[in-house]
Subunit: 238 residues, 2 copies
Amino acid sequence: MPTEHIVRSYDEDLRKLRDMTARMGGLAERQVADATRALVRRDTELAAEVVQRDVQIDALEREIEAFCVKLLALRQPMAADLRVIIAAMKASNDLERIGDYAANGAKRSIVLASQTSIGSLNGFERMAHLVQENLKAAMDALVNNDAEAARRVWEADEPVDAIYNGIFRELLTFMMEDPRNITAATHMLFIAKNLERIGDHTTNIAERIYYAVRGDSLPDERPKADQSAFAVVRPAGE
Amino acid sequence: MPTEHIVRSYDEDLRKLRDMTARMGGLAERQVADATRALVRRDTELAAEVVQRDVQIDALEREIEAFCVKLLALRQPMAADLRVIIAAMKASNDLERIGDYAANGAKRSIVLASQTSIGSLNGFERMAHLVQENLKAAMDALVNNDAEAARRVWEADEPVDAIYNGIFRELLTFMMEDPRNITAATHMLFIAKNLERIGDHTTNIAERIYYAVRGDSLPDERPKADQSAFAVVRPAGE
């Protein structure tokens, strides 16, 4: 029965799309984890690996996009299937950016390994840990088609922003203490910003999943706590 | 003749999509221009306007996405038309990010207006000017369906990266001169990074246009000059 054959193989296509996206998500998670480990352990070899591995994520994005275009052209999907395909295509963009941020952090950790003093890394470890957990939860929500789990990920980014604000102020103070800290602290600032952006992209992915499963969007404004764009820190004694 | 009617109205749909994207691009250009003007003139009112206007760009992104999904579902487009729709959807993501970066810069310029010394703005003005020109050229390439113009935009980002590297080093030196410069210089660093990211998103848009018109992609690696992730700057006398 050719019709049934086509239907079954379409389901297989959608499963394949989901698998590709989950694989890309797993790779992105690993990049974030390894970039953080490289920073904390001053492991420049691992950092270099993270930088090199980024091409794999880029390649997966192109594969997913090409596969989505093929599905759109050949299958001419409607409603729910169309949403799943568009969500996968957009999630792959977010994962590609997450990969870029991890690789950029790894590059900076190579410079940091040559600096004597780089300040406290506690905030970074907590932030990276939360970001990875959210990313993992987002990919689980994708695999399980779970809109409620996606909503929880979407709501869980606020503590990430709060840690980022703390790190921002801490690093400015660290720079003010000694000008020799400035190069290191600047790279640390960008690594913290990268982690904050990874958190934002993770919430984007959660929004895509929610939309794909439910067909409607989460509210425009999610709980946000990043106030660093307005931060003013003064040198001690001023 | 109903067939002809359908065909004509499909062309109209695609023209409408192009118009929406061009309008979004125009708004994004204006946000970048006004954010830069607000920074240079210390005009906090204009900066606040830029921050508020960002919702318009976000709304346009959602409109474009919804319209693309409608076109995909109702028109079931093939080949070239499918590419145009996907390119518009992805370009609208990039424009939304450009809007976010402009608004973030505007927020920071409000803090900077309260700082006594913020260092030289020459590099910023040059960088912002180049970034705006490239964005304008990208939107022209979109309106004119011009793949060669899109390729030129894609190649034109290198000088933006070069100015960014210069600003990065300048600001680190400015911080080392006096700890009271650190808050201002940190916000300036992020504004410069925002402009550099706006340049990157503009090249993404150029890639989408090239792909939509030609059906094949530009090479993986474009000329890049951002080396700031590896930069080390030492305090004078060290």
